[in-house]
């Protein structure tokens, strides 16, 4: 059995590695086509990653990506495409910021309250798509895309000055949250501060694994994702499962904006990061919905994000930092292609191996019986030749 296990690990790693190599190669082609060095940008970026302040930035960014990607992955595990993580986390962050600015409880209550508000808001927004899908059969893809646009408008409306908005200079904020709701960070001296919420993100990853792989609910969810018909026959209520998965996905999505909101900016403003949800899709794909894989993927994408700005100021030749964006896009395409290729190859290979091992076992059994009509030696010679 060991052989199978080793092979499974190999297969799991092969997909992302092939995808990354392909993406880097294609990016180099783009660089060559624009008449620039196809290698130097990478070394510049790696150099950046050596600085401890950039490392802190990468970790902080990765924490947010991680939560967004987990939210997407929960949907993926059950064949739901929650594109709406983006709207869910932004709306959740805005509502949480407003609550944090208007409610003042002691820290021990304030932070849990804010986290709860964020999760409920995210779940509510995703739940709309869930209900539309279960009652009216609306594709969650369409519904969540629409809800992203609606979320933008709702946020725009709620942050008007006559509602909850507080103008600060050119910026429109929701006012500074009460200090009791600030999540303590981990001071790293001159390099800055790692968001304390990154630890919550890591815990969410552990919980994700535990629930999916070790609970009945997780099994039902995975079964539904693997084969809806088989899951239904096994007693899973598919509609309820869709709704539940959407709600959980939304609740986790609601957390994605918390690291920066509770750890740094303490207000929802026009400059609040956007697009985490979409990047989260890339990361979930790259990480194969596996909590450890997602962590690596989140770090990688965060690295591309945070190390690329330096390209603009490189001496003597400056590069466009958009190279990193091109690379992210290429990673997505390469990932989809290479995973499917590796999956098919692995399946075929396993079928072959099972066949071979069974044939070998049958042969051994025959040899033991000393079947005179069909000498085992003869057979195995032929089989070796056949290979």
């Amino acid at each position: 059995m060991k052989k199978f296990d080793k092979e499974r690990v190999l297969l799991a790693v092969a997909g992302p590695v092939i995808a990354l190599i392909a993406a880097v190669a294609l990016t180099s082609v783009v660089l060559l086509a624009s008449g620039k060095s196809p290698i130097e940008p990478y070394s510049l970026m790696f150099e950046q990653a050596g600085f401890s302040d950039v490392q802190v930035l990468i970790i902080n960014q990765a924490g947010m990506y991680y939560l967004a990607a987990l939210a997407v992955a929960i949907g993926f595990r059950m064949n739901l495409f929650n594109i709406g993580v983006d709207g869910q986390y932004r709306l959740a962050a805005m509502v949480t910021a407003v609550v944090g600015a208007h409610v003042s409880l002691p820290s021990g209550l304030q932070i849990p309250l804010l986290i709860l508000v964020a999760m409920l808001t995210g779940a509510f927004w995703a739940g709309i798509a869930g209900i539309l899908k279960t009652t009216r059969g609306v594709s969650e893809v369409v519904a969540t895309i629409m809800l992203n646009a609606i979320a933008t408008s709702v946020i725009g409306y709620l942050t008007l000055t006559e509602n909850f908005g507080v103008p600060v200079g050119n910026n429109q904020t929701t006012g500074i949250m009460h200090k009791s709701g600030w999540f303590p960070g981990i001071a790293m001296g001159d390099s800055g501060e790692i968001y304390g919420f990154v630890i919550i993100a890591a815990l969410a990853g552990v919980l994700y694994w535990l629930v999916l792989n070790r609970t009945r609910f997780g099994f039902d969810l995975r079964a539904t994702g693997a084969s809806q018909s088989a899951a239904a026959a096994s007693g899973v209520n598919a509609k309820r499962m869709v709704l539940t998965a959407m709600l959980i996905s939304g609740a986790v999505a609601g957390l994605a904006g918390m690291p920066i909101l509770l750890g740094d900016v303490h207000t929802y403003s026009l400059s609040f990061p956007t697009g985490l949800g979409f990047t989260g899709i890339t990361i979930a794909l790259l990480g194969r919905n596996n909590p450890v894989g997602i962590a690596f993927a989140a770090l990688l994408i965060a690295f591309l994000d945070k190390a690329s700005p330096a390209l603009d100021y490189a001496q003597p030749v400056a590069y466009d930092k958009e190279i990193a964006v091109i690379m992210q896009g290429l990673i997505v395409i390469a990932v989809v292609v290479s995973y499917e290729a590796v999956r098919r190859w692995g399946l075929r290979r396993q079928q072959q191996r099972v066949g071979e091992e069974l044939a070998a076992a049958a042969r051994a059994a025959r040899d033991d019986n000393g079947n005179p009509g069909n000498p085992g030696n003869n057979d195995s010679v032929k089989e070796v030749a056949a290979r």
């Binding site: 296990d5 099994f219 084969s227 026959a233 096994s234 399946l347 072959q352 099972v354 056949a386 290979r387």
Partner: protein, 531 residues
């Protein structure tokens, strides 16, 4: 390795049968012959000339055509359009094609109507269209993959007449099957495949189904166990006036006024051509579809409104008709498949069904693999990498491990080799002795007759006929399955000689069928006495 050391030669103008258990490598061999797969070594020769096929197109150009088990026809097109599709360059799509089709149809007695829509055709007619399609492309060697699996006995006879017509015109037919009686009746030569290699040939006139089966399995078959009736008078499942309407506006009744009772220790066999409401009945019983009216009771308790999980926890076992769609997670390891359907029950979960017990499930999977002879190198391989028969054994093992009170067994031995078939039957019989009620749905009429205590026939969503398995013949059941007979099927004559008498032209087939029937009767008769 699926095939090694295969020797097969087909004479012109003959029907050559290829038999073997499932997973023996028949399909792989056919794929190689039809150019869908390339052999690692060895040669294929057509008319003495060595050939190598890179694709089915190559095979077709060499006169080899394949009639697949699952028809590949477009329902919305006419027969003519289906036949011409993809071969427009041969005879065009108009008069030329029509003339050619009429000519082929007449010459081989296929009786194909070129302008009928395929959706209006029955299974047998569709099959003839498939055969014509292959002939139209100039095939002189036809490969038929389990052509009788979807046909009722009368249609099988008609198909065999067509095959004889083909061979008298000098065409060769390779006929894949594991229904031995049929093989003996139609084939001129028989080649047996076991574990990927040819193990022998047989001459039909000198071989009995039993000898052939032993050649297939490679050992002597166990004699069917003589079981006594275990039917009690305690009803386990009662269905009353079950009615299920189709979705949408038409509101056609898929199931209408279905009523039956299965007692503890009783096997109720349901015969019917596929698509007459069996799937819907299973769905209604397992709780995937809820009846529009009618009542289902289990041990007297009304379970009509119960959800699927509650029914399964309550002791409904389910061997689905399509194991890939309803019985397995193909990409998941075997031990996760062992959990499927019983996730809330021991040994799969603990803590009141909240936590999975992966250790327990894995250990129990090993037990099932052992006890039910699932051939696999381990429990961590995916279900997809097992052969169909071994997948089925895993499913049967899983369902039987939870002491079901009521078992829905849809085609429990479909695609399972002869040895495993006997084993699955034994397991069902054994559980029945302990009071299990079974609804058995099968396309294999011998299995139905051999295993059932009571027989019902379903036709267009209604139970139209019932029969006593101790006396009824497959032919009589077949006529009720096509709607030609209804009510209580009274057997008219002495069973053993009836087949031969009914069809004098077809003595070979009848003799073989009769031989089958004798086998079946051996196990059925003692039950009869016990009653």
């Amino acid at each position: 390795m699926a095939n090694h050391d295969i020797h097969l030669s087909v004479r012109k103008g003959t029907v050559h049968a290829l038999v073997g258990e499932n997973g023996a490598g028949k399909s792989t061999l056919m794929k190689i012959l039809y150019g869908m797969q390339k052999p690692d070594e060895g040669t294929i020769a057509v008319d003495g000339e060595k050939v190598s096929f890179a694709s089915p197109a190559d095979a077709i150009s060499r006169g080899i055509g394949m009639v697949h088990q699952h028809f590949m026809l477009a329902d919305q097109l006419t027969v003519l359009e289906n036949i011409a599709l993809g071969s427009e360059q041969l005879h065009g799509i108009g008069t030329g094609a029509r003339r050619k089709i009429a000519e082929l149809s007449d010459r081989y007695g296929l009786g194909v109507r070129p302008d009928a829509y395929v959706e209006d055709l029955g299974v047998a007619d569709r099959q003839r269209v498939e055969i014509l399609k292959v002939l139209y492309r100039g095939a002189t060697t036809l490969i038929l993959d389990e052509p009788t699996a979807v046909l009722v006995p009368q249609e099988v006879d008609a198909l065999f007449d067509n095959l004889r017509e083909l061979k008298s015109e000098g065409l060769s037919v390779i006929f894949i099957s594991h229904k031995l009686g049929e093989v003996l009746s139609v084939a001129d030569d028989i080649t047996v495949i076991r574990r990927g290699t040819t193990v022998g040939t047989a001459v039909p006139s000198e071989t009995t189904p039993r000898q052939l089966a032993e050649l297939m399995v490679g050992s002597e078959l166990p004699t069917p166990e003589t079981a006594e009736s275990t039917v009690t008078d305690r009803p386990m499942i009662e269905v009353e006036g079950l009615r299920l309407l189709a979705d949408g506006e038409s509101g056609r009744a898929l199931l209408d006024d279905i009523s039956f009772t299965i007692h503890e220790g009783e096997v109720l066999g349901l015969a019917g051509v596929e698509g007459n409401g069996q799937t819907e009945l299973i769905d209604a019983l397992i709780g995937l579809k809820h009846a529009d009216s009618g009542v289902i009771r289990m041990s007297g308790e009304n379970i009509t409104d119960w959800a699927t999980r509650r029914r399964r926890e309550g002791g409904v076992g389910y061997i689905p008709e399509d194991r890939h769609r309803h019985g397995l997670l193909l990409d998941a390891p075997l031990w996760e498949n062992r959990i499927l359907g019983h996730v809330t029950e021991k040994p799969n979960s603990r803590g009141g069904g909240f936590w999975l017990d992966t250790k327990g499930a894995q250990a129990d999977t090993r037990r099932i693999v052992e006890e039910y002879d699932v051939r696999t190198p381990g429990i961590d391989v995916t279900a997809a990498s097992l052969s169909g028969g071994n997948q089925q054994k895993l499913i049967v093992g899983r369902e039987m491990s939870h002491q079901p009170r009521f078992l829905i067994a849809a085609h429990p031995t479909r695609g399972v080799d002869v040895g495993a078939q006997a084993q699955i039957w034994d397991q069902i019989r054994e559980a029945r002795r302990e009071g299990l009620a079974v609804l058995l749905i099968s396309a294999d009429l011998d299995e139905l007759i051999g295993l059932s205590d009571t027989l019902r026939v379903i036709y267009r969503g209604r139970l139209v006929a019932d029969a006593d398995p101790a006396t009824v013949t497959p032919e009589e059941l077949g006529s009720a399955m096509t709607g030609a007979a209804s009510g209580h099927l009274e057997h008219v004559e002495d069973a053993e000689n009836d087949d031969a008498a009914a069809d004098p032209e077809n003595t070979d087939a009848a003799a073989a069928d009769a031989a089958d029937a004798v086998d079946v009767r051996k196990e059925a008769a003692p039950e009869d006495e016990a009653r």
